[in-house]
Amino acid sequence: MLLAVLLPFIIAIIIPFVSKWKDKIHTGYFVTIVPVIIFIYFVRFIGSGFEPVMREYSWIPSLNMNFAFHLDGLSLLFVLLISGIGALVAFYSIFYLHKSEQLGHFYVYFLIFMGSMLGVVLSDNVFVLYSFWEFTSLSSFLLIGFWNFKKESRYGALKSMLITVFGGLSLLGALVFMSVLTNTTSIREMISQQQLILNSEFFPLILVLLLLGAFTKSAQFPFHIWLPDAMEAPTPVSAYLHSATMVKAGIYLVARYSPMMSANEWFFIIVSTFGIVTLCWGSYMAVRQTDLKGILAFSTISQLGMIMAMLGFGTDIALFAAVFHILNHATFKGSLFMVAGIVDHETGTRDIRKLGGLMTYLPITATLAVFASFSMAGVPLPFLNGFYSKEFFFDSALHLEAANTGISGVLQAAVPYLAVLGSIFTFVYSMYFFFGTFRGKAKLDQLPKKPHEAPIGMLVSPIVLVLGVIIIGLFPSLINKPFIEHAASAVAGTTVEKSIYFWHGFLYPPLILSITVLVFGVILYLSRRVWMPVYNVVPGILSMNKFYDGAVDRLENYSFTITKGYMNGSIGRYVRLILAAILIVTFAFMAMTGGFSINTDNLADFTIAELLVAITMVVAAIGTILTNNRITAILILGVVGYGLAMLFVFYRAPDLALTQLIIETVTVALFLLVFYHLPKLGKKEESASTRVLNLIISIGFGAMMTMVAISSHSTKLFESISSYFVDNTYELGGGDNMVNVILVDFRGLDTFFEIVVLGIAAMAIYAMIRLRQDKKEEE
C-alpha cells in the first residue's frame, strides 16, 4: 500500500527524463499507466466481505509520525475515484495538451497531486494527512498556474493557494488540539476516545478550525470564490482536481470525523447550513455564467454543498446518499468537464453566447452531454445515476432526526424548501449548459475555428464516464452492497444497509419533490430572459470577490510600505536596527526575569599592574575613534591587542598569550600592507543626531555585555564541565597541556572546521587578488 501511494511520486521523478522524448511519444502515455496500476491494485478490495485493512510503515517514530495507512470503505471509494478518474483524465490529456506544451512540468505536478491525494485519503496519522493535504494545495496551485503567461492563471492560482492554505493552517490547528487532547496521532484512536474531545472546553474551537479547513478546500460558501478562478487551469486539471477529487478532500475530512463530531448538535447546524446555502448559491450563480467552465465551476460548488449538507444531516440515509453522490458526481461532472474541454478544443471558445447548434457538428459529444447533464439535473429516468442520489437527498431532507427546538428546529423546517430551491436552479443550469451549447441556431461566424467532432482518443474518457452514469443508473445494486454500503458505514460508524430502487410509487414524497423541481425548472429555464436582471440586484456590488481583492491589495500595499520603511539600502541603518533589537530584547528580558546579579564574594585579587594595562587598552581603544590618521589608528589597535596578550599572561594562559602576540603582529603588518591602498580616513561628516544615536547604541551594547559578564560570573546555575577535562586530559588525550589536548583531541572536529574556515578565507583572498590581476592583464 505504501508503494501504491509512493508510485506517483517515484514516477514523477522519472518524468522529466522521459519528457525529453516527447516529440516521439507523448509523455501522457507513461503517466496513464500509473493510475491504472493503482486502480487495479485497489479494485480487488471491492466485495461484500470487505474488511478494513491497516498497514503501518515507520517514518519518524520519535515524533509519532508514521505512514499508517488505513483502508476502509470511505478510503476505498476515494482511492478508486482518484485512480480511476486519474487514469481517464491522464489519457484525455494526451489529446488535449499539444506536444509543444511543457508536458514534463504538467505531468510532474499531476503525479504529485495524485500521490498526495491518495495519501490524504489513506493516512490514519493526522500529521501525515496534513502534509499530504498541503501538497494537494501546492500542486493545485502549480496546475492552475500552468499557463503562467496568462494573467488570469496567475491570479487564480494565487487565490486558490491563499484560501486553501489558510484553511490548511486552521486544519493543522484543529489536528494539533485533538492530538494533544487524546495524546495520539491516529484518527481512529481519536475517534475511539471521542469523549475527551467532545467534552473538552476547546471543542467549539476545534470544530470551527476543522470545518474551516474542510470548507475552504471544498469551496463552500463564502470560501467558494477560488474555484471559478481555478478554471484557468487546463481542462483535464479542472475535471480531475476541481471537480472529481481535490475539492472533495474537504468532504472526505468531514466524513472522516463525522462519527465523532456528529454527536454535537452544532456540527449538524453548521455543516448543514453551510452545505445547503452553498447548494442554493452555487446553483443560482451557475445560471448567470457565460463561460462553459464557469457554469461547471459553480455547479461543482453547489453539488459539493449538497454533499456537505447531507453529511451534516447525519442520518443513515443522508450519509448513504452522500457517499453515493460523491461517486455519481465524479462520473457526470467529470464527463461534463471533458465535454467542455472538447467544445473548447474544437471551436476555440468556451463562451456560451457564441456557441449553439453544435449538435450536428459534434454528435457524439452532444450525446454524452445529454446523459451527463440530465443526470446532473436529476431528471427521473431509470438510467441516470444522478436521479437516484437526488432522490435520496430529498428523502433525507424530509427525514431529519434533529431536535425540534431552537436553531436545529428552524433548520429542520427550512431544509426541504431550500433543497428544492437549489435543485430547481441545478435543473436550470444543467439545461442551460446542454441546450445553450448544442441546440438552437449555430453561430459559426462567431467561432474562431470550424467545429468538427473530436478525435476518438479524446472521446474515450467521457464515454467511459457516461457509461458509468448509465450502468450505475440501470443496475444500482451492482455497486451498492460491495462498495457504497461499506463507505457509508465508515462514515456513520455503524453498519448502514440501504437498497436502491427506481420506483417507489406515485405518492412517494421525494418523487413528488423531483417532479416539482422538473416543472418549475422547465418554467424557469424557458422564462430565463425575463428574470435574468435579478442578478444585477443579488449579488450586485457586494461580492466575496471584491472583499478578497481588496484584502489582498491592501496587504500588499501595507507590507510594501513597511518593508520600504526600513529597507532603504543603507547597511549602517540595518546594523543599527539589528543592534537596537538585540539591546531591547536583552534588557527587557533581564528586567523581566531579574537576570542581573552581582556577587563580590568570589573575586580575584586586584593588582595595579593589571589596572594599568586595562587603562592603557581603554585609552587606545577610544583613540581609534578619535584619530583621523590611518597609521595611528592601526598602531593603537595593535596596542589594544598587545594589551590583551599581556592580560592573558596575567591570567595564566600562556598559549593564548603566545598566539595573541603572533596574530596581533601579523594583523598589524597586514593592515599596514593594505592601508596604503585605502582612501584616507576622512572627517566624520555625519550629523550630530546620528553621532548621538551611534553613541547610545554602542554604549548600550557595551553596558549590556558588561552586565551579562558580571551576571554570568556571579551566578553558577550548573557545575562547570571543566573538571572533566582537567581529570581526563592525561588518561584520554595523552598530553600535559590541557588547552592543546582539548583543541586537538576532545574538540578535534571544531579545530578541523576552524582550519576549513581559514582555508576558505585564504582561497577567497587569493581569488580577490588574482581575479583583479587577470583582468588587468586582459586590458
Binding site: 581603544a621 581609534t624 589594544v640 594583523t667 597541556n737
Partner: protein, 112 residues
C-alpha cells in the same frame, strides 16, 4: 578584578560597535577587531580568573585555571584573524573597483 575586566570588555565592545557604525571600511574593520578582542576578554571573564596554576599538568599541583575558556578563545583568535584579513582584502578590492570606501555609497541598485 573580574569586575574591572568585565567593564574593560564592555568598553572594548562600545568602541568596537561605534567604529562598526561608521561609514568607512577601514573603521569598520578596526571595529570588528575591537569587538573580537572584547569577546575574548568576555569569555575569559566568565570563567574564574587566576585560580590555580596554568593549565599544564605538573607533578604535585592539584589546582589549575579553567582550561575550557582558553581553548575556546584560542580557536576564536585564529578565526578572527581569518575574518580580519578577509575583510581587509575585501575592503581593498571594493575600494579599487568602486573608487570609494564609503558604505553609504556602496548600496545595491534599485532593481533588487
Amino acid at each position: 578584578m573580574e569586575l574591572i575586566m568585565a567593564v574593560l570588555a564592555g568598553i572594548l565592545f562600545t568602541t568596537g560597535i561605534y567604529n562598526l557604525l561608521q561609514k568607512q571600511l577601514l573603521r569598520i574593520i578596526i571595529g570588528t577587531a575591537l569587538i573580537s578582542h572584547g569577546a575574548h576578554l568576555f569569555i575569559l571573564t566568565m570563567g574564574e580568573l587566576k585560580r590555580g596554576a596554568p593549565p599544564i599538568l605538573t607533578e604535585g599541583i592539584e589546582n589549575y585555571t579553567d582550561p575550557l575558556p582558553q581553548a575556546l578563545i584560542l580557536t576564536s583568535i585564529v578565526i578572527s584573524f581569518g575574518v580580519t584579513s578577509l575583510l581587509l582584502v575585501l575592503a581593498y578590492r571594493a575600494s579599487q573597483v568602486n573608487g570609494t570606501d564609503n558604505m553609504e555609497q556602496l548600496r545595491g541598485n534599485d532593481y533588487e
